[in-house]
Symmetry: C2
Subunit: 332 residues, 2 copies
């Protein structure tokens, strides 16, 4: 079997309490004694059993992360960002996926016993306005909200300024002379979709004879669904001259549709995305999109959780990361 603290204590000629103190509260043990203990530990390759430690202290080394999926590169990046920072603090990440399904995401949160976790990082896009607050408040460990949720009172959160990004984009398109815009969005049930649509509405103003907007609803983050939505737009007797997609996967699907239908981009129609996933710069034509620093978002979320764990009382300032328009070929 593996080596226990008792073995170390015996070998060093001290009690288990002293060994434990030598490791966790060095100032409480005589330097000389401590040195001897550490030597024994070193030689025996002793590592305290994390389960026993967790049980007696009530502290684990695990953080839970709730995501809809990992196959969407956006979430994969966030996850990687979290991992990077937490790794530096000897914390490990338990990933819990909810398939962007509301009930499911709730279950997923509950499926992991919170006594096993130090905290949560949640990017639960499926929460609806109605129930997310209740869910969050029922948690017994600190949670940080990462993207996709409006600022929930009392919970630290970090997200990208997508509203600003879409407002700028809309203004820019109008200034460039576009008078008929297409919008391909995810399901309006999702908060991020709603937020982005609202930003666009705000900038495009009320319906007018001057400006037309045609909306298509697609499945969030689905290439195929973006392709089909674009097909519908391009089949209109008078198609839009610019199509705003609410995320890059939809936009890449749209690009594909245009290519298949022999519609030149940006010649006959402009296409834009959001997120700036790595592939966005490598499509043909390269995708004009709004860069969201998703990796950094993950890092920030992790840092925020760490801070929260240190000083649980301090009131959390929401962190909002700026986005940047990346003008590439699909919309000049």
């Amino acid at each position: 079997m593996s080596i226990k603290i008792r073995d170390i204590a015996r070998a060093a000629g001290v009690s288990t309490a002293t060994v434990s103190r030598a490791l966790n509260q060095p100032h409480l043990v005589q330097p000389e004694t401590r040195k001897r203990i550490l030597a024994v530990i070193e030689e025996a390759h002793y590592v305290p059993n994390p389960l026993a430690k967790a049980l007696s202290t009530g502290q684990t080394n695990l953080v839970g992360m709730v995501l809809p999926t990992l196959t969407n590169p956006v979430f994969a990046q966030m996850a990687e960002g979290c991992q990077q920072v937490l790794g530096l603090h000897q914390l490990n990440l338990v990933t819990l996926m909810g398939q962007r399904d509301n009930q499911n995401e709730l279950d997923v949160l509950r499926s992991m016993d919170q006594r096993q976790l130090k905290g949560f990082i949640i990017s639960g896009s499926a929460f609806t306005m109605d129930n997310y607050r209740e869910i969050l408040d029922s948690l017994q460990i600190p949670a940080v909200i990462m993207e996709n949720l409006p600022e929930p009172a009392g919970h630290p959160c970090v997200y990208c300024d997508d509203s600003q990004g879409f407002r700028n984009l809309a203004r820019r398109l109008l200034e460039a002379g576009h008078r008929h815009l297409g919008i391909i969005s995810g399901q309006p049930g999702f908060l991020d979709t709603r937020r982005r649509l609202a930003a666009l509405d705000q900038e495009l103003g009320p319906e007018s004879t001057d400006i037309r907007v045609t909306r298509e609803t697609a499945t969030y983050g689905s290439l195929e669904s973006g392709r089909r939505a674009m097909e519908r737009l391009l089949q209109l007797s008078s198609p839009p001259t610019a199509v705003i997609c609410l995320n890059d996967l939809l936009a890449l699907g749209a690009l594909r549709a245009a290519w298949e239908m022999n519609v030149s981009v940006p010649g006959q129609v402009c296409v834009t995305g959001y997120d700036d996933i790595p592939m966005a710069a490598y499509s043909s034509p390269a995708l004009t999109t709004i860069h969201a620093p998703n990796l950094e978002l993950g890092r920030q979320a992790a840092r925020m959780l760490l801070k929260r764990l240190e000083t649980p009382t301090e009131s959390p300032e929401p962190v909002i990361l700026p986005v940047e328009l990346m003008v590439r070929q699909s919309c000049l």
Copy 2:
């Protein structure tokens, strides 16, 4: 504080042992008693503390997964596959990432105390021939090897038949009349790269005056690096007529390079990939590639680990999943 087993025992008028048995070995307790206990548990919303349970049984509900990265969609899919199956068995996944760096991946394996884990699922592409066996054998919990490692004696493993896939592909290209092939590979230090190159070599036969092969080395899984490698190939005085990329990200980068240089695909040069990531069907032109069932690979790996946990002695049969050539536009 939260409810403990003692509270339940007291409320039901039995000992803690009986409560524990009612939950874990129902046949040992009188049906009537059991019913009463379960009622109390239900009413109190009691859930046994997983840490205490783990400490006393030596069994956790956590499985560790080692991956180079999550931002490569291939690994994200594997991860999602694992998650899907493990979730059905109340097991959660701790993701450990090594950045496809050899030493790092080793550290990552050790960073997670194995007493906290039930088993490992490893897709550690960075292991070199030299040390992976030693590392694997030092593990104290069952491990399943997922893709990217040759069959290690004594460890269950599951991978795709990429060798077969590349052999078929090479033969097909020769039959189609190609006499100058380009190959864009990842770093030859990686085992998957080596395996795929070997398969190609086998089919293309020895260097001959008849068949030319030009090789370019790129960074594994990097779009940018694939683009640059393709640039170099296309700048040759007599470029290859078909370019085989060892994975889809390299191939998508290559496609981009051709587009930038106004080289028509498949008109002037054919391009193929491997993996069939979702984006492969949506590039312009759509990528001809070898479909590797990576999601299923993850599922199988998880199932294999589960089986291994049930019957630790049984000798593990390697599982090899078939691949399929997806002929699309980039190489007809």
